[in-house]
Amino acid sequence: MTTQETLLDIRALRKFFPVRKGALQRIVAQVKAVDGVDLSIRAGETLALVGESGCGKTTTGRTILRLIEPTSGEILFRSRSATGDIAGNMTDVATATPAQLRLLRRDMQIIFQDPYASLNPRMTIAEIVGEPLKIQGLVPSSEREARVLELLRAVGLGADQLRRYPHEFSGGQRQRIGIARALALKPQLVVADEPVSALDVSIQAQVINLLQDLQEAFGLTYLFIAHDLSVVKHIANRVAVMYLGRIVELAPTEELFGNPKHPYTEALMSAVPVADPDFKAERILLAGDVPSPVNPPTGCHFHPRCRYAQEICKTQTPTNRATSEQHFVTCHRADELSLRGVRAS
């Protein structure tokens, strides 16, 4: 399923949002939403980006598509449509011209979290799903409707729904429409930003199954952004854990859940309530809240909440290093700590 070819290679990506104050709107601080992220996604895999609200996972996803302008860093993408301009036939999305960007969008698309806010209420389903085809001019207008219908069938909707408007659909159906729109241009990479978290519990499984089926049918690569670790464990091949704008751990899914190396990953997994009354939860209660990304703690960002923190963690920023071929962690004490993973029942 996974080939080793790198589809997307993100290097030292940063996105700072200025905080302005006063009559002159001077910049008084920076919100470091994404603070030096390195990540590569292989063709055909599902890489999950997890973390709590405010950790920068959504900003990372949107910056990759240039829906948000990066502050610095490279976003190298192996596009079929845009011609490569640097070594290895990769295109740097971060510096792409508007014309290049338009071509790049054929190959990278996004599914949004809120199916109620991401569909234009004044457009019919045929218009919504057909719009990318119209903008890109890939399909003659006479054939557009046939293609839209094909897409709707692929996501489990039918011809009788073409002329209807978003308000006539339930949340799960709307998310299917959003998925059909994202697939209209036959992209290689789909950024799925919390695609099931706004849906009812009994609908989530339908959409997760659909995303997996579509990946198999169209050879898609997913960047799956989520906060629900149970969903991530089910769908992802590899998982990257983010905290305050940085990736603190990255590993294949089984390895990350079974053998976490970062104390934050351990705490995050222990906090997930398990749907089994006999499960003896040993929750690690983190003290306090996530600190502000305007003024992150010195040294390791996680040290004020970390139960293993030592002097070095307060003063020196840990570097990201490999503990095995596929397992990367950003923690001074990763080698000496023995952390608790998820026990399979």
């Binding site: 339930s170 519990v201 009994s202 499984a205 997760i208 149970s230 464990k233 309530p273 398990v274």
Partner: protein
Amino acid sequence: MHASPPLLEVKALKVQFHTEDGVARAVDGIDFTIAHERILGVVGESGCGKSVTARAIMGLIETPGRITAGEILLHRRGGIVDICKLDPRGREIRAIRGGEMAMIFQEPMTSLNPVFTIGDQIVEAVTLHQGIGRSEARARAIDLLAAVGIPMPRQRFDNFPHQLSGGMRQRVMIAMAMSCNPRLLIADEPTTALDVTIQAQVMDLMNALRRDFHTAIMFITHDLGVIASMADDVAVMYLGRIVERASVREIFKHPKHPYTQGLMQSIPSLTDGKARRLKAIDGNVPSAFLQQSGCGFAPRCPHAMEICRAHSPVLEAVAPSHEAACFLHRAAP
């Protein structure tokens, strides 16, 4: 169901909303009991009527909503009172609400008043119900903020809601709800808007409150994981009705209603091995406006029979302390 005496009994409760689009039967005849110091978990998806039930108990149903049938009996020290019969704006319900029963909501930002400090809002609740002076109320408010784990409560007293994080605001809501030592706390999705690490803190806090203040809790959520770790008893709601009811262990180990079974099978679990596909429940959650005969779950049910489309099943015992509203189990011994 268990030994402790009832604190609240809900009998044949119906709540309807009369709108231009028709009549929504938000709550369509439900019965349940909450005993002293127990935690009742109410599970269901959006539109199943769980929040409307909570509001009905608090006497907070507003037009176009109306309680059309049933009783909500609160067992007070001086006797039993039916909340449905009280004037919703009268003195008695106001004394009960915030005094004997309190409620916390999903979104703590919209349930705190943004123009008053959090301290003033707690002081208001305390002076209103306990008739103590302002300085005494202030001291009590600071104690409460400390009890719910707010660091530096004396300084935080003068903060406005926007100066606090989501988890802190939910703690303030809990402090306010606990200010008068209520015997029943209704928590409507209290952790849904929070991150898991903060959710773990709030769940821990609520368990401590039950232990220390002997408060009964009605805990409403769609998260089966939260239910499994918090509740003593569980009621599963679908389309305005309770479809299954049992102790937490019984319902997770032996779910009987196809909807409950479907819900439990459809969620991926951290402790599962890797499965290729999830077992999804087909179809969509129908609108409460639809008037359909028979069991509300029949259109999505893999076991639906002829009778399910014609008649509505009622809750019947399927095992000791375990009831389900499903024809599949009616013939069961």
